[in-house]
């Protein structure tokens, strides 16, 4: 089965004509949908042919843990926050997860997924607490047939799960796109390798096409960016040790805080002024954060990003686009266009609709696209009108 990909960005060196962009994307989407249906039919045929063989499937993770499943996982417990929405996107429904991290549940309720899958409102979150520590009894009470857990913070968060006799697979989170490892692993565990292939291909193709469009970009053309991991009661930036830093660099920017080795670190306002980023990105973990708060901050008035009003709140679709999630390619489209409006012009209505239909089997309602892109919060920021042109 050939995987289908999202459209590559429509590179335009001249003034954008919305009508032209529209005309260009609609056939694309029809082709995509047709291919999707065809691939599902093909999958159904193959699945029908293999039913009854009951071949055991062995899935191995990046840390060498492996589990052997007699049948695809039906009741998984994805404990690390980013895997909660992956456990919906990869099988394409909300029936494969029995619990999720509280932080993951929060974004399910905050973003699109609560509307798509109303049953998520009842999803229990007691199986995992702060510091990724599992609550074994709560976890056992959800009766999972497979547990996903982080593999990089020691045995203490894993040993109780293994001792309880639950099969467990682990993930790493580094300063790279680790989701490329998670997707095939979860696809194999759920018995939906072809869907996982598509999701992975969409991810790789989108990244490749952005990388290609950015080819030849000089250092002087890379805008400096600070991604604020917390603002208000504290000032934290994304340091060089995080996916979000890799993301800035991959989208043709420079993370001003790359010298900071941690995933995120507290800094003084003075340090931000010394870095003087051209663009400031606001995290979506604080749902009420708005660029206007930064514009109104008397201490930050002299920042280039404030003077030129280039502060942007990161969008939220099914999950937070800034994080390593199934919708990361949408976040990359958004960020690449934000950093290089002369090189990128994505059709968000088409891309988001196609992505949500593929990932969740749901069509976002018409007013949802603007809400995902945070048109209200970002409307006072330079150039954001291009995102509301659809």
């Amino acid at each position: 089965m050939s995987p289908q990909h999202s459209s590559s960005p429509s590179r335009q060196d001249v003034e954008i004509n919305p009508a032209k962009a529209e005309a260009k994307f609609i056939p694309n989407k029809i082709v995509k949908d047709t291919l999707l249906v065809a691939s599902f039919l093909g999958l159904a045929a193959i699945a029908g042919a293999t039913i009854g063989k009951a071949d055991d499937v062995t899935v191995t993770d990046v840390n060498g843990f492996s589990v052997t499943l007699t049948e695809p996982s039906q009741r998984s417990a994805p404990l690390p926050p980013p895997l909660g929405t992956f456990a919906i996107a990869i099988p394409g429904d909300a029936d494969h997860l029995v619990t999720a991290h509280p932080w993951s549940k929060a974004v399910m309720m905050q973003g699109s997924l609560a509307g798509y899958f109303p049953s998520l409102a009842d999803l229990p979150t007691g199986a995992v607490g702060g510091g990724f520590a599992p609550n074994i009894e709560e976890l056992l009470a959800t009766d999972p047939d497979l547990v996903f857990q982080v593999g990089f913070i020691g045995d203490d968060v894993l040993a109780p799960i293994i001792a309880a006799g639950l099969p467990v697979l682990t993930i790493n989170v580094t300063a790279n796109d680790d989701a490329m490892d998670w997707i095939p692993m979860m696809g194999a565990a759920y018995g939906v390798e072809d869907r996982a292939d598509w999701i992975l291909s969409w991810r790789k193709e989108t990244l490749a096409s952005i990388t290609q469009t950015l080819a030849g970009l000089g250092d002087e053309d890379r805008p400096t960016v600070a991604h604020l991991a917390r603002y208000g009661d504290a000032l934290r930036v994304v340091g060089g040790g995080h996916f979000r830093s890799w993301q800035i660099e991959a989208m043709g920017g420079v993370n001003v805080a790359s010298e900071v080795p941690q995933r995120s670190a507290e800094i003084s306002a003075e340090q931000l002024i010394a870095w003087d980023p051209e663009i400031i990105l606001l995290n979506a973990f604080q749902p009420d954060l708005m660029p206007q708060m930064v514009y109104d901050d008397p201490v930050l008035q002299s920042l280039a990003a404030v003077r030129e009003r280039r502060v942007y709140a990161f969008p939220v679709g099914g999950d937070r686009w800034e994080a390593p999630v199934a919708e990361s390619p949408l976040g990359w489209m958004w960020l690449s266009e934000l950093l290089h409006p002369d090189r990128f012009r994505w059709d968000y209505t088409a891309e988001i609709t196609a992505a949500h239909e593929m990932l969740y089997g749901q069509t976002p309602p018409p007013n949802a696209i603007g809400r995902m892109l945070k048109l209200d919060a970002n409307q006072g920021s330079t150039g954001y009108e291009r995102f509301s042109a659809f």
Partner: protein
Amino acid sequence: MSVSAPSEAAPQSVAPASIGLVWARTALASGGWLLGCAAVAVIGIVALGLGRYAIEPLDVIRILLSRIGFIETDVSDTARRVVELVRAPRILSAALAGAILGMTGAALQGIFRNPLVGPQIIGVTSGASFGGALAILLVGTTAATVGFAFVFGLVAVFLVYTIARVGGRAPVLMLVLAGVVVSAAFTAFVSLIKYVADPNDTLPAIVYWLMGSFATATYDKLFILTLAVLGSVLVLHALRFRINIMSLGEEEATALGIRVEPTRWAILAAVALGVAGVVSVAGVVGWVGLVMPHLARMIVGPDHRKLLPAAALAGAGYLIIVDTLARTMSAAEIPIGILTALVGAPVFAVLLRRLHLKGWGRG
């Protein structure tokens, strides 16, 4: 600097001395206080010239002078904002916090007659920590963090008071034990909050805040801190002589006509006010209230009329220096609690050795 140290030089037992000698001693003592204040001021001004954003030291002076109206200057707006809105409130906050921590530490060591006592012993630190952590978890705004820390700091002291009070009075031992109990309870609540906090961003914010930092100092926070410190200092200063008598022991104080219970509670409330103010704007800053009173006692002796302002000056200067290190050593802030402990622990070890020789023996 806004550290106001009472510069009276109360001469003691000078009855047979000539008037000239009294004058000379007064002048000498005043000179000492002036020197102390000047040292803190110099530390503050030097700190104002240091930071991650490079500003010429002369430009810092120009900005200060132009703000007072002495000169016109064309220093960049950015430099002006860094000095006036980032560094100045931060240095003033550190100075005030250091001063009140030193002063309250000295007062507590006096009334508990114990050199190992610091502000954390009466539960106020852990109560305020819980309040602040709760606010970060539930609300996430600065005003809430400050308000919650303040209220829960006072609640903790009230609980200590209620538990320790047996038959209308609260013996020192009961106070200390009640303080341990209340601190343990609030520490457990803080752990609970850390457990349920979002490990991605809220948890680091709470952990960082608990370690103590002046990184988000603003004039609004400085204002709150100033009110708390003023209230605390006024009470402690008014009771400085009674603290001397209380440090002789409960029976002696009663024999000398001091109403021990009300006096002790007035002092504890004043300490709670000051420390809750510090925790609410800067989180937990350990060791200053424990170490600085000892340093001050080595210089001016155990008389609280001198010891309280001396500990305040020492605390102010010390905390400005430590905070300057915290904000300049690397791009990422170093939590100030780590630095105060790293510096405080060995200093305290040395002081403890010396305590056998002087200071407490004279009390």
